[in-house]
Symmetry: C2
DNA sequence: GTCTATATTCCGATAGAC
DNA sequence: GTCTATCGGAATATAGAC
């Protein structure tokens, strides 16, 4: 519970990054809600790149813990949990961190880019293994290339968090349900 | 050919919006390459929102002409052309305009948002009709809901222009090819 | 339609006290 | 670890001449 200022800044920065974009929020947007001064934020993260790096790192850590916790569940349930996670992103009016980093890609320093790449590869590999396992168990329909299937699932679900800002809530549910249906045997 | 300054600004603005994001480029980024002053850009587009609006409008116009030109082609070829179009986006290191507008959504004024919504709906409906037609002709596999199929195709292809900035070129081709294969009978 | 010049505001970032 | 104070720069935008 006892969350440090540093952690609060990361959380708020992550929210702002995914709601508004990396170049759309300022140190003031972080310091005001936390009722500290912008200099205090700079103490924890001297530059905005440092904050971006910490956000990327945080996502890696969280996903790592998530995948460990999921390891014992069967593929279908793992995928359901994954899709539900994206549903909660959608409900909070944010977009997925991968798409957020991708559209702001050329605003990110090399260290941040590397961290984002490592995180993204973690997710893709986790999904790929999940799909392979589901196929081996006969739960999922066989597809030619499991990484490609993983990429398509990831793409369509993270893009949906973006697209439904423009269209409507219903479209998110449509896509989410369809992903599971299409894969199930 | 003879493209006016106004048109050049729109083109350049569109490039910058999709390469860097709406909040990442400035009037100077537009005026410098065109070798005019920032005030000259303001003459054509008093505020940045006016420029964003014109960019959205331009996409509507272009897509309208595109869909007219495609009308006589058969569904499979229409989809191929559509996917190739996204391939060219990927090669130019930009992302799709829908995702770019979506991630910068809360930086856009109401007029711009409405224009983006109209454009996006045009694309989705065009894709939905294409899919329905392809099914009717027996070219495409039947799916339960054609709008959902359209959403998934659109999502996965426009997200791919983002995702491959993080992973690799190959992943784009994988997804692109797979979309067509999955739909074909 | 483009220019010079400038107003204004905001941003990221730092120095130095507490 | 947080503060006050401030710097330097860049951004959007406008006024008015040509």
């Amino acid at each position: 519970m006892a969350s440090s200022t540093r952690e609060k800044i990361i959380q708020l920065g992550d929210d702002l990054l995914r709601k508004q974009g990396f170049n759309a929020f300022s140190y003031a947007d972080i310091s005001k809600p936390l009722q500290i001064k912008n200099a205090a934020v700079h103490y924890h993260f001297p530059s905005k790149q440092d904050l971006a790096f910490a956000i990327a790192q945080w996502h890696k850590d969280v996903f790592d813990r998530f995948s460990r916790k999921m390891a014992t569940k069967e593929p279908k349930d793992r995928l359901k949990t994954f899709l539900n996670f994206y549903h909660s992103i959608h409900l909070s009016e944010k977009v997925d961190i991968i798409g957020a980093f991708a559209t702001d890609w050329y605003s990110l320093g090399p260290n941040v880019q590397t961290e984002v790449q490592e995180f993204t590869e973690l997710v893709i590999e986790w999904l790929t293994e999940l799909i392979q396992e589901g196929m081996d168990l006969g739960q999922f329909r066989k597809t030619q290339n499991t990484r490609t299937t993983a990429l398509k699932i990831l793409s369509s679900i993270f893009a949906s968090t973006q697209l439904v800002r423009i269209t409507s809530d219903q479209d998110f549910t449509r896509v989410k349900n369809s992903i599971l249906e299409e894969l199930l045997n």
